[in-house]
Subunit: 187 residues, 2 copies
């Protein structure tokens, strides 16, 4: 069923995604689909939750910059894939509250799994003490999402490495090692 | 007319934005609206193009980090404004190709205007030679958009400053001063 959702989404986008089409593709009665998922947002939320139910882990290349570059390459490859499932799911999150919350859960889970990248770098002595893993990971990956999702620039083969190098240099310079009180200071 | 579009969008979002409602609010005949704008995407594109037709310039605080922090603060304030016009326009860019292209033009224009921030910093001797202004500006602002638009985290008063400091530290460390050939090296 969830594969039918992905196939419909990839082919027709959110506007062409209907309960009827999903039911027909999956070969089940549409009443069954309505009973279980209620609406397209419910279907998408289940697809997103299922996407997070895997054993994915971030790359382990032996260096912080290498791990971040490999992670960014995965993001860029996924965003540029055909059919554009990941891009369509992100777009759908602007149409459905349920899909938006599921997309949030998926990203939260992915960033949590990526924290091992920062822990490994700290263990190797690559980072200043008290480096904030989440802020580092957001800084490393945000330029990818900004370009590919919002600015809609074509994929740039140099971007994954550039964004990784930028975050690694900032981390080494202490950008993510603020004293804990800094987070609660307004402005 | 464009104010009527913004008012409708702010109140009802994209789903409640209709040519009829815009015509009624602006007090013109709906045939006039259809003739001139064709569809909601056309209205939104005109709104976005009009938004860029101003004399906005980036803050001038006397330092790179200060300018970037003030710029990020403007972005966060605009994204958190009520009614959520900027957020609604970005969301609409996932519904209409015309709106998406207009949003792209607006961002391109804004980033181009912001390049003066980097030029001033270079003139003050704050930056290594050949610093790429656009990459620096994207790195400084991308975490704001990533949090507020995609991750949908609540506004964090520390984020504008943190993201600015991260980009300034990375810039000082040479993250945006690659030799020109680096841009054409794959991977």
């Amino acid at each position: 069923m969830l594969e039918a959702v992905l196939a419909e989404l990839g082919e027709h986008g959110y506007d062409g995604l209907t309960m009827e089409a999903v039911a027909a593709r999956a070969g089940v009665h549409r009443a069954t689909v309505y009973r279980r998922w209620n609406d397209v947002g419910g279907l998408l939320a289940d697809v997103l939750d299922a996407a997070g139910d895997d054993d994915w882990g971030p790359p382990d290349t032996g260096s912080l910059e290498g791990d971040l570059a490999a992670l960014n390459q995965e993001i860029q490859t996924a965003m540029a894939a055909e059919p554009p499932i990941m891009a369509a799911l992100i777009a759908a999150s602007f149409r459905s509250e349920k899909a938006a919350r599921a997309q949030q859960r998926l990203w939260e889970d992915r960033y949590t799994r990526c924290e091992i990248v920062v822990a490994r770098a700290a263990h190797r002595g690559e980072l200043p003490p008290r480096t904030d893993a989440r802020r580092l990971l957001i800084a490393a990956t945000a330029p990818l999402y900004h370009h590919l999702v919002l600015l809609r620039t074509p994929p740039d083969p140099a971007l994954p490495g550039h964004a990784a190098r930028t975050a690694a240099l900032a981390a080494a310079a202490g950008a993510f090692a603020e004293p804990p009180s800094a987070n609660t200071t307004p402005g």
